[in-house]
Structure formats: structure tokens, C-alpha cells
Amino acid sequence: MSTNTGTSNTSTSGAAPSLSSYKTIKQIGESVWKNRTVKINAELFTLTYGSIVSQLCQDYQRDFTKVNDRLFSMGYNIGIRLIEDFLARSALPRCDNFVTTSEVISKCAFKIFLNITPHVTNWSTSKNSFSLIFDENPLSDFVELPMDASKELWYSNILCGVLKGALEMVQLDCEVYFVSDVLRGNPQTELKVKLNKILKDEMPAGED
């Protein structure tokens, strides 16, 4: 756990020097996950989420647009609280560009909470939107969408809400949505994060 100066500094050129000076973002994420976080069996988590989604489908009489919205708003409520846990655990400094934000999300946040590291790709030319590609998605293990849901339901839509809520609490107003999902027959699961604007007015005093 000593200060491991970045031998494998994979962070992109624009990354904050303050962030990568001691350890790379990846190392921070891994050490927090490994040494600082209590683990549970992932199947318990997967199955709990599954029962929530199936109950929602039943409650909304298979109106999957409503189920998507509901999952999103549940995620949002989780995200605005989960960000405190993430910050207390990792104590990362503020990201000074969106590229760093994307790395923190994929290598730290997803690592700590779900133990996965989605890939970051599809940057827009202005660097204000990116895609997360999920090779594995613990939410959707053991899942097969029923015929009527396979065109409308975004099974893991709760993740969009969580990201939206958490980013909003650090003054990043974003749009988050799924573009494709292996459950729907697409070749990969892709989640898009698009930065609308940085809420400068709500930035807490005391930061530069």
C-alpha cells in the first residue's frame, strides 16, 4: 500500500497531475476495492435486482417505458446518496476534465461497487460525451428478456440513474442512457454519458 509511483501510468494526457501523482486511478480503485471495502456474494445482488425489475414489470402491467423511467428514478435516488460513499472511500480530488471523470467512473467507481471495469470509448470530438462498454454486467447475469420486453426494456437502466444522480452531486449535469444491450440481441452493452454543462453556480465555495 506504499506510494507506488505510476510505472504503468495509463491515464490519458489530459489527466490531472494531482490525480496521478501518487497512484494511477486504476491503482486507487483496485486498492480501495481490495483492502477497504466489505464484499458480499454477487449473486445475491444480481437476484435482488432481478426481483425488483420483475416486480416492476408486473406492477406497471408490462408497460416497459414506465418500467424504464421507474428504474431510472430509483437509480437517481441511489446515485445522489452513493456519491458520498464513493468520495468518503476514495477521497479523490475534483476531476478537472471530463476525460478524467470517465476514467474515475470506469476504473474506480465501477470497480469499487460492482467489481467491473467497463471500457471507455466513442469520444465525441469535443470530448463531452463518451460510451461505456460493458463486457460483463453483474446486474444481468442469469437474465433472458421475454419476447414482449426485448424491444423496449432497458434491463440495467438503474445504472443510468445512478450515474446521473452521482454526477449531478459533483456539479456535472449529464444525460445518461443505454444505446445497446446484449440482452436485446445487440453485439455489446453500451451506455452513453453526455455532459450537458458544468453547474458552476452550485460549486461549493473553497475550491479553486
Binding site: S18, R36, E84, V170, G206, E207, D208
Partner: protein, 190 residues
């Protein structure tokens, strides 16, 4: 150090938690505490506006080095005890964290000393302020580090026992016995 009280102020300047470990001598009602919290919030914001010119010109690299808070072992948590890693809520022991960390509050009020007490402010990235009042008049930098280590632990406890309480509504006063007892535990271990 003798802790007099711990306060938590939400991002809009409202007092959401206050606990006195030593009862203050004067009479203070809950309204007075709310006013203190609001005033502190404003003074904090004013302090950020009144940065000396020399510091403004100073390069960022020097500031970054300064803003790191060293980790101090054994603050609020007994790291000596053996028997494998312990669990501290959702955190895996022996301690909540074991490396130095960034101070998010770069230009706001951080430390205040009077003849009778000293006060330390720790602000999270989301704008939440944790305030610690001690009965000693500490002036050293080490005391600031100790206080910030302790306050980050209070933040960790807050993220576990307040944020994960389904009956807690955001920005409202904290009425959680679990949180209360965990904070007390931290202070008792000091």
C-alpha cells in the same frame, strides 16, 4: 484532545447535525446553533473571496502539495488490536483509510483558534461541511491534520449510516441513533 462538539452543515448552510460531548457553559438553544451554522457557512464563503494576492499568483503545483492531508494512524479507531481485518460498517478495517488524502477545501475557512477553543472545518466535494470544536486552543499544523483525519472518518460514518438510511431525506436534520453511537465510538477511541 477534548472534543467539545461536532456539527454537520448541509450545502445550503443549514445545520443538520449537532452533538455536544461537553456541555457548553453558556445557554444555547437549538435556534442559536442554527444561526452559528449559517454564520459559519457565510464566513466560509467570504473567506474564499478574500484570498491574498500572493496566494492567487502562486502556482498551482505548490498548492497541490499543501492540500494533501497526511494519514495519522489510530485516530478514532484502534488499529493496534489483532485478529484479522475488522468491519467498520461497509468499510474493511483495520481503519477506514490508510493513506494521505486530498483536502477538498482549498481556500475556505479551515481552522480557527481562540483562547478557549479551536475549530476545524472539513468540506466534502458535495459541499457538506463537518465542523469539530475542541476545548484546547491548538495552533499547530499537526492538530489540523488530526482533526481532518477524524472528520473524514465522521464523513465515512455519515456515508454509511445516514446515506444508506432509507428513512432519511436529504438535507434534513439527522436523527439516527446508529450514526450517533458510531460517532461517539470514534470520539471515545480518540
Amino acid at each position: 484532545m477534548a472534543i467539545q462538539s461536532i456539527m454537520i452543515i448541509n450545502k445550503s448552510g443549514g445545520l443538520i447535525y449537532n452533538h455536544n460531548f461537553i456541555e457548553p457553559r453558556g445557554q444555547m438553544n437549538s435556534n442559536d446553533y442554527l444561526i452559528i451554522a449559517g454564520t459559519l457557512h457565510s464566513v466560509f464563503a467570504i473567506a474564499t473571496q478574500l484570498t491574498p494576492l500572493a496566494v492567487q499568483i502562486n502556482n498551482k503545483a505548490a498548492q497541490n502539495a499543501e492540500s494533501d492531508v497526511p494519514y495519522i494512524a489510530g485516530i478514532g479507531v484502534n488499529t493496534e488490536s489483532k485478529g484479522g481485518p475488522r468491519e467498520l460498517g461497509s468499510f474493511m478495517g483495520p481503519d477506514y483509510f490508510q493513506e494521505s488524502f486530498t483536502n477538498w477545501n482549498k481556500s475556505g475557512l479551515r481552522h480557527m483558534v481562540t483562547d478557549d477553543f479551536s475549530m476545524f472545518v472539513f468540506q466534502s466535494l458535495t459541499g457538506l461541511k463537518f465542523v469539530l470544536v475542541s476545548t484546547n486552543n491548538f495552533r499547530s499544523n499537526t492538530s489540523v491534520s488530526i482533526a481532518e483525519n477524524l472528520l473524514r472518518k465522521v464523513y465515512c460514518v455519515y456515508s454509511d449510516y445516514v446515506m444508506k438510511d432509507p428513512f432519511y431525506s436529504l438535507d434534513m436534520p439527522i436523527r439516527s441513533e446508529l450514526f450517533e453511537s458510531k460517532v461517539k465510538e470514534l470520539i471515545d477511541n480518540l
